[in-house]
Amino acid sequence: MRQLLAVAAAGLTVLAASACTAPAPPRPAGAAATPTGPVTLPAPTGPHPVGTTVLYLKDTSRPDPWNLDADARELKVTLWYPTEQRDGQRAPYMTPKESELLLKGSKIVGVPYDTLSKTRTHAVKDAAPSGRGLPLVVLSPGFTKPVSTLTSLAEDLASRGYVVVGIDHPYESYVTALPDGRFAECIACDSDSDPGFGTGVVQGRAADVSFVLDRLPSEWDGSGRIDRSRIAMAGQSIGGASAMATLIKDSRVRAGIDMDGTTYARIPKGGFTRPFMFIGSPQHVPGGRDISWDRDWKLLTGWKRWLVLTGADHQSSTDLPLLAGALGITPAYGALDAKRAAELTRTYVAAFLDRHLKSQPQPLLDEPSADHPEVKFCPEACGRS
């Protein structure tokens, strides 16, 4: 009689269990502290200045999966890319209204609602792109978050010579600004404890990415600078899970990175050979509570890595730890330093992309590094914590 937690009722069990645990706001364990004032994101480390611009696309071939009254899927795309232009207006991190909706949705109080709009970035707004034969990286954010929460990573990759295509998937974030002053709020949040929710999200995001890749040449005048044979995708949380789903579905995407996301897409039983890297917090060690990486690991038959960052949490690969001070949140005791977390994320994501899109050898990915002692290579060199 070992079956009390029966999988026959798995659907409802999961539903009920997750209904008990509302998604936690970012870094909820932190005690309130005096806000530090606006943050400047860490400077990009590559040789190129960075430009950025925003596109709005509309896929009329399918209805929106969340807004039942929208008969087309709208997408907001933020591009970051190398430019020659060093000077010019820096792009806003987000607008005051976007900051407000994100903070309200995340239940962050005690700081002015426009706080995040004061964050200083490095990319020059609407600068002319430069370079030729550039590899492309799609970025997909975590659930409830706009893709601007991955700006630190995006700017750094662009400075290293990548065209970064950040996608906002409307209604899956507390805020997505759409044309004509409209804001999509988080309709998907209504059903995020339903069984099968994650599977539905990653299916939808894979379709979003394929549509963006289809349309980019006609929608962005810098597209001629892209080498379309060198495309990868990375994402945080459900965005990372969506990278897996997209790779499986769209053969144009050659390699993928999942930053701490439980995965949902079904890898073909025969295995999957394209390069893939998991980078996670200690919640994602082999044999942990989330079985999805163990499950997928067996089916990944090509180049693969599973890295776990000591002291990291679920948001470590996003800008949120960098912004914690401005939001009056004290990091949990023992947490990885925010700047260090950003540095590790940038370093290892870039190493993966340089290896698989630029064919550059990356010793960093072959074995543990004395300069990066926080990074454990799983499953061999990391125990269950």
Binding site: L4, L5, A10, A19, C20, T199, Y264
Partner: protein
């Protein structure tokens, strides 16, 4: 086998209810200090083996916190545990001379000490069976409460290769629910037939709704009109993987054949798993299928109805609760509040009859639409709270068949020292007229039973009846 089945359906209810059940008052604090259990907080640690200390903790936890804990004869729990212990020894061919039930006096602490001494004597003789015997004993003690909402969740395995949309089993549902098959099948009536093919082995074997199951593993599903234990094999729980042989009859063609179905994982359509599903029927009826009273369920139902109502005049709402897993009493009351104000939807009572009224939230806007609720044996717990309130308070009409009769009270979970969860209600549930609904269920106002013929033809007579009522 029997208790296993009940567990499957019931755990969901337990967990869901655990979200909202109030913490029991401290006045019920343990007589045996240091053994009482606490509510879990944070994520569970890794499960460790069940020991006699865990059994002791569970025993005093029940006596402290279970709604009838203060009045129940604790000797009945220990006797049930000891009986299961001896049976497990015997099944393993290892009965021992020391396996004698100790004399009990009715003093709960002294009786535990006597039990523990006897228990240790037995298990010391068969150290290799120690873990298994502890599990069997504790399961029997919990089962002795005879309460569908009393559960011990342990060894919570999930198939390592499963995805979040995967179900486990044969991939079918039949006219006897899993709750009935595992608990009290008294309300089940013949014939046994397939009501839904979800995927997996059943789909691969070509089964269809309406197919009559004449035998399960060569045993009749009904004898003299009463369901037999054979039916339970249709709802295997992981890791059970024994193939199940079915003898089938397709009435339309007269074909008789046999299939062997092996339990396993099967993918499901995420859209079909959504907790709230809605559509417009006959241009003026909002049909909402609610699969559980999950957090925010009421608001999601309101949104769905508001959307269907935009730009048209509705003649009513059909709320389909026939495969609702139960859930939160607070969400139940909130949903009821859209159909009536100033009402008591249920009572939650202590063993000495002190009852807390669950009142409608009168800040919820009234929908002002006629309501028909579809019910059946797949409507337990919070779903019966809802159904009974609709009936007693005349908020709408109930169509279908009697509900599950599994609403003992909102269950709370308690953490045991080996990182397993013990759950049970600290109060018992009564309907708006203070009637007992547990075990008895809520009868429909319009009895429309499902039939194999309707299932085969894809007809839904209960829904048809609901639409007729709304268009009268």
């Amino acid at each position: 086998m029997t208790a296993v089945r009940t567990a499957a359906a019931g755990l969901a209810l337990l967990l869901a209810a655990a979200c909202t059940a109030p913490t029991p008052p401290r006045s019920q604090a343990s007589a045996a200090a240091g053994t009482a259990c606490a509510r879990p907080s944070g994520s569970l640690g890794a499960e460790t083996p069940t020991t006699v200390d865990v059994i002791e903790q569970a025993y005093f936890c029940i006596l402290d916190r279970y709604h009838a804990g203060a009045v129940l004869d604790a000797r009945s729990l220990l006797a049930a545990g000891f009986l299961a212990l001896t049976q497990e020894l015997n099944r393993n061919g290892r009965d021992v001379p020391e396996a004698i039930m100790p004399a009990l006096t009715g003093d709960r602490k002294a009786d535990w000490a006597a039990f523990e001494t006897a228990y240790r004597k037995v298990t010391d003789r068969v150290p290799d069976l120690r873990d298994k015997l502890a599990v069997t004993t504790l399961e029997a003690i919990v089962a002795a409460l005879g309460d569908d909402h009393a559960r011990w969740a342990h060894d919570a395995g999930r198939p390592p290769d499963s995805y979040d949309v995967d179900g486990y089993g044969l991939g079918l549902q039949v006219s006897v629910t899993s709750l009935q098959a595992g608990g009290d099948p008294g309300a089940a009536i013949p014939p046994l037939f397939v009501t839904a093919v979800q995927g997996g082995a059943a789909q691969a074997a070509g089964l269809r709704p309406g197919d009559i199951i004449e035998a399960v593993n060569d045993s009749a599903p009904f004898i003299d009109g009463r369901a037999t234990p054979a039916v339970a094999a249709l709802y295997p729980d992981y890791p059970e993987a024994r193939p199940v042989e079915l003898r089938l009859l397709r009435q339309a063609t007269g074909r008789r054949w046999s299939v062997t179905l092996t339990p396993g994982l099967f993918p499901q359509d995420p859209a079909a798993l959504r907790v709230v599903q809605s559509k417009l029927l006959e241009d003026d009826v909002a049909y909402v299928r609610l699969r559980g009273f999950a957090s925010d369920a009421a608001n999601r139902v309101f949104k769905a109805i508001a959307r269907l109502r935009t730009g048209r005049t509705l003649s009513g709402v059909v709320l389909d609760l026939r495969d609702n897993g139960g859930g939160s009493p607070a969400e139940t009351t909130r949903l009821l509040s859209a159909f009536g104000h100033g009402k008591v939807t249920a009572y939650q009572c202590t063993v000495d009859g002190e009852c807390e009224a669950m009142r409608t939230d009168d800040t919820v806007e009234l929908l002002g639409l006629p309501l028909v609720v579809l019910i059946g044996p797949g409507c337990p717990s919070a779903c019966e709270h809802f159904s009974a309130a609709v009936k007693d308070l005349r908020l709408g009409q109930l169509v279908g068949t009697r509900t599950a009769g599994a609403v003992s009270g909102p269950a709370s979970s308690y953490l045991l020292s080996n990182n397993t969860l013990l759950g049970f209600p600290s109060k018992h549930h009564l309907g708006p007229n203070r009637e007992v609904i547990d075990r008895i269920g809520v009868p429909p106002d319009h009895h429309v039973p499902p039939t194999a013929e309707d299932a085969a033809a894809g007809r839904d007579p209960a829904l048809a009846k609901a639409l007729t009522l709304l268009h009268k």
